[in-house]
Structure formats: C-alpha cells, structure tokens
C-alpha cells in the first residue's frame, strides 16, 4: 500500500457488552498493524486508553447494549464517527449476553443477588456509579444507524483487515467465502 497523501484517518474502537475477543482478533492482523498505523491514527480505544471519542472517520464497536453506559458510549461514537462499524456477533445480534433475553431482568437480579445458594444478606447493588442494566440486550443497529457490519465470534483478523483496507481504499467492503463467518 502506498503512503497516503491525505492526512491520516482517525479511528476509534470500543467494547460494549462484549468480551474484548473482537479486539484481540483485531490485534491478530499482526504486523499489518504497522501498515495500518501508517494510514490511520487511533482516537478513543483500549489500544490508546483515550477515554472519550473526538471527531473520527471510523468508529468500531464490539459488543451489544446491555446497560445505560453502553448506550452513552454508543451515542458518543455515533455522534462523532462518520462511519460506524459493528464488529462481531454481540454488536450485530446481541450475541452471548442476549442469551438472557428470554428471562426477565428482575428474575435475573433476584437470582444473582438474592436467591443463589451461598449468598449472605445479598442485596442488589444500587451505587449511582454503576450503570443500570437494560431490560433486554440489544444489537447496536436497533439503537443507532450502523454503516457496516463485520460478523464473527470473533471475526478473523483477516476479515477485519479486509473491511478496513476496502474502506481506506474507498471501496464498498466485501467479505467473500472463508472471511464471512457467524461463528
């Protein structure tokens, strides 16, 4: 890839209700990360430890929405990023956290903090510092407009690389056989 004439694109990433597995997979692009860094610079991301997202070209979201904080962060990304990408199963369809959706939230909280065997004087944490859980876990496209999706649990480094380089080259991203995976 040639050196860009244009200024570097700004990219932000975050993990909401996810396991950081998609971020780990992102790192699986290995030495291509160095090539990527020639083209982009990172804003808010676990890679930079920047806490808030400024105006960016691309925002990458791992994980779905399970609590109020997830909603705040997602909105911050949508407001600041020209292109928003849902990365991985949880962002796209709720994934593993959404497996709680067939249970009622009060039932879950009751089970986890009161009823479970071995709890003494259990109470449901009510510290204002803690984000409140939503009654259901939602994929991010149900709450904000999402521009691109990279499925997989996690998507492979190659799939992430393909989408990013397609976008950087101004092409419509396309994953062919072998790169598109839901598992």
């Amino acid at each position: 890839m040639t050196t860009p004439i244009k200024p570097k694109l700004k990219v932000a990433t975050t993990s909401l209700a996810g396991c950081f597995g998609c971020h780990m997979s992102f790192l699986d692009i290995d030495e291509r990360l160095l090539e990527l860094l020639k083209l982009v610079e990172f804003d808010r991301s676990p890679l930079t430890d920047i806490k808030h997202c400024g105006p960016c070209d691309i925002g990458i979201i791992e994980g779905g929405l399970c609590n109020a904080e997830n909603v705040h962060v997602l909105r911050e990304f949508r407001a600041n990023c020209k292109i928003l990408i849902a990365l991985g199963a949880c962002a796209i369809n709720g994934g593993l956290p959404a497996q709680r959706n067939h249970l009622s939230l009060p039932l879950i909280l009751e089970e986890v903090y009161h009823a479970q065997h071995g709890l003494v004087d259990g109470f449901i944490p009510n510290d204002p510092e803690l984000p409140l859980p939503l009654d259901k876990v939602h994929p991010i496209h149900e709450v904000v407009k999402v521009d691109y999706f990279i499925p997989g649990c996690p998507p492979s480094g190659d799939a992430i690389w393909k989408v990013l380089t397609d976008l950087l080259a101004g092409k419509e991203p396309e994953l062919g056989h072998g790169l598109i995976h839901y598992d």
């Binding site: 109020a68 009751e110 449901i124 944490p125 204002p128 510092e129 939503l134 259901k136 709450v143």
Partner: protein
Amino acid sequence: MITQVNTHSEYLDPILLHRRHNANDLLQVLREAQEHYGYIHSDAIDYLSEKLNLPRSKIEGVAGFYSFLYLQPRGEYRVLFSDNITDRMLGNMDLMASMCAQLWVESGKLSEDGLLSINTTSCTGMCDQGPAMLVNNIAINRLSNERVSAICELIRERVPVSAWPAEFFAIEDNVRRKDILLGSSFKSGSALAVLQQRGADEILNEVKVSKLRGRGGAGFSTGSKWDFCRVAPGEQHYVVCNADEGEPGTFKDRVLLNSYADMVFEGMTLCARVIGAKKGFLYLRGEYRYLLDHLQAVLQRRRQQALLGKNILGIADFDFDIEIHLGAGAYICGEESALIESLEGKRGTPRNRPPFPVTSGYLNQPTVVNNVETFAATSLIGLNGGSWYAGIGTETSSGSKILSVSGDCDRPGLYEYPFGVTVAQVLADCGARDTQAVQVSGPSGVCIAANEFTRRIAFEDIPTAGAFMVFDQNRDMFEVARNFVHFFAHESCGFCTPCRVGTSLLSNMMDKLAQGFGSPYDFAEIEKLNVLLQSTSHCGLGHSACNSVLDTIAKFRPAYEKRLAHKDFVPAFDLDSALSQARQMTGRDDKGAHLEREDESR
C-alpha cells in the same frame, strides 16, 4: 387415567358417532368437543387420537391453528371483542377496558378464579351494528356501557349464556337497498323446476350467457368454473359454498344466509346437477355459529320438500345433500384452497397451485368453490335466464352487487346495486357526510380518496367482495391502515417466510410510528417490506397485506408525515423505559438511572 378417558368418552362418543369417525371431520369434532369444557382437554386428544386413528401431533397441530380452539382453559365465559376499525370507531377499546376493570381481569388472560377471559378477535361481521362481541362464540351487538355492565353482572352471577336476555342476541338484517337479488320474491324450488324442465346443460349455458363472475372478489367466470369442473375427471365431484366471510367490513353473507338461504342452497343444488356432485358443503365462519340451527332447519325443510336428498324433484339419479362445516376463527380459510384443507380437517394452509380446485379440490376431487352471493345469483339466473341477467350492470360486470356499508354514515347496512354504481352514489344513499375515504373490499382492497368518488363499483374499475367502510374527515387514515396491518399479522397462516415474518415486522413498524419513534428511515423500510411481501408471498393474504399501507401512504401522506417525528433513525423502544425494571429493583432514581431521548440530549 382410565376414569378420565371414560369421562371424555361420554361426550366424545356421540360426536364421533355423528361424524362417523371420519378423520376428515377433525375440525368439526374438535369444535364440538370444545363445547363441553370450553377448551379441548389433553386427555380428550388422546381419546380422539385413538378413535380417529390420527397422531396426537396432527390433532394438536390443527387445534393450534384456529383462534377459536383452545388447548388450555379459557374460562366458562369466553368474551371476544370484535376489533375491526369500525368497532374501534364505535369505542370497542373503552368498552373492553371497562369490562376488564369491572371483572378484575387482564385482557388476553384467564381470570384468577378461572371464570372468564376477555380478548379481541378479528372482525365478526357485525360492522353495521357494532361494537360487537362474541361470548362463547355467540354474537352480541350494539354494545354500550349499559349493555357491557349488564353482561358483567350476568357473568358475576354465573348466569348461563343461554339464559341471557334474548335482545342481547338480536341481529338486524339492515337491508337498505334492494335490487334484483334482495328484492326478488324467490320461491324455493322454482329454479330447480326450471332445471327439471330444461336440463343441466341448458342451466350451465344460462350461467355462461349471464356472464356471472365470482362475488368473492376475484371475479372468475362462474360458468367457466362449473364447466371446467364438470369435465374434470374424478370419482366424485363436490360443491362448496364459501361462507367464511372474514374480510373485515363484509357482512352480506350473514344476511343472505339469514334471510335468503333457500336461494343459496338452490344455487348449490343447480351447480351439483351441472357438475355431477352428490355432496356439497357450506363452510360457515365460526363467528356465524348463531346461524347454524336456522340453516340446519332450512336444509331439513328442503329435504322434506324433495329439494335435497335422494331423487330430487323425483328425478332419478339426482342425489345431492349439503353438510355445514363451521370454521373456527381463521380468515385465511376464505382462500379457497385453504378452505378445502380446513374442510378436510387440516390446518388452513393455502395449497400450491396448480392444480386448482376445479380439477383437484376436496379430497383431491374436482370441486367448485363459489361465494354465497354467487350461488344466490345462479338461482336467479336459473329462474330468469342468462340474458336477462347479462342485461343488468355493465358490459364486463353483469348483474348486481351487494355492498356491506359501515363506518361514518347514517344508515349502515346492505345496499344492492346493479354493477357500475359510483362510490358517490353509495355515499349519498347511506347518508355519509364529509367523507374523507372509503375502504372498498376490506383491508385487502383499495382505499378510495374523495377525488375518486366518481369511480364505479365494477370488476373493470373497483372490484370488490362487498365491504364498503366509510371514513369521515375526523378519522386518522394512518390508524385505519395500522388496524388492518395488525389484522393481517394476526391472520397470517405462517406457512411462508415473507408473510409470517413480514406481516409482524410491518405491524411492529406501524406501531413504532404510532408511538412517536418514526423517522424517514422507517418510512423507507415499510416501503421495502411492501415490495417483498407482494413479490414473494405464497398467497393473496401476503400479497395484499400491504395494500392499505401503500394506499394510505399514496393518498394520505400527511397522516404519515406527522408520525415521522424524528429527522434521523431512533430506536423502536424507549430507552429510559428499558431501565425502569432496573430502577425498581435497585430503588434508584438519580440522573444516571435515566436515559434521555437522543434528540433531547443533543
């Protein structure tokens, strides 16, 4: 266990005997069995499975398909409020809420004491005298606060429905304009006498000459249908009268069967002679259960008059009889191949076509399926001749059409006109003022705006099965379309992907707009869904499920635009409400325990 089964045998054996242990009558057996407990007991299914030699899974599959069959207790009193848009306009939702409050029951759920349940149901065909309800499948109309309170009292006192005041069950015909059909002084047997004199070939010829087209809405030539069926090879031929009048806003068949049943049965008998059928069915929608005894009596009288049964009118070899099958709350069974499936005791899923019923219908034998009004018209044609009939109406739409008029007008009821009448004429006759729109032919039909009132009721302009719902300037046409979309989602048979999922998605999207979460994004989504449903659905239900939305978007766009409250996409649910359970569980109400709407936070 044994005693349980014996208990069920007591009421099931007579039913099974009457139905000759015929597995094709499964739906009828289940419907009759349910009348015992108000639901179908799990042990009863075992008993039926053994006696009918049917797998349990099949019986549960059939029972699960029909809205009026219950596999769980629904109470001694099962109240269903008709929920057509015309019932809504007459305040059915307030009445239902009031009834739920008076009887301490949540709609859709069984009361804690197991006494009753209250729910909504699709249009019960009483739009001219709504708001309407069914109690234990029997119709009660003209609901008011007083009547609802009286019903609550009767339920509280546990008075059996059979002992409720007779005036509750009074149903008016409301015939407002008579023409050749409703105005005829038809004498039972008179058309058959012509048949006796002139023979089946000539009767078929008269039906062809009359250019009569099917009154169910599709408008297929009746003469051709009878002819195709007549020449189709088969061991038996069958005549089926489609009285599954489920299209919301239609109620003409109710009146025809109440006051003109002889014309209908006589038309079926003419058809039987033409196609060589020994057996016919009247498939009567479950909502018209109250007509059953009356219709059985008419059939019985006709047998005594030698107009049905063996050697009709003494003609050797002219044997024909009619059996009544009741539906059980499934609009899709108005589709002829789904109706046939239902007659065969199956789930009412439309068949793949071809083959069509004329060659492969009931039990895969050649079958004519015609509408109630069509059969009644053939009696007139038999009596008065085809050219007489063809001279009435327009060139391509001969004869008359009965319209079921309801909604915003002074005189709702039946209006029969020669084909070609303008919408404006009907509106003038029924006393409609400040009319904004007319929904012709029900939710699957067309929505006509004021600038189109010069259009005509005829196959070449506005074809219709007869529903004519009037909306004045005060009505919200978005809410009309939303009611129709909910109707289709409830009535989708679930067979094909686009209709099963698409009607639910469409109804969710319309709800999203109604709740104030709409944006141009949703508008585009609705339009995309419309295309998909029309192009890929299995049958007419899916094809037409979007009609009302498409029409109202095209003709009443402001009703939609005011719902597009947001410039950009917003979620279909309120995020702050999505935290309410957690707030309740933690007792928190601080700022962090809330989520603002996004456009407020910006």
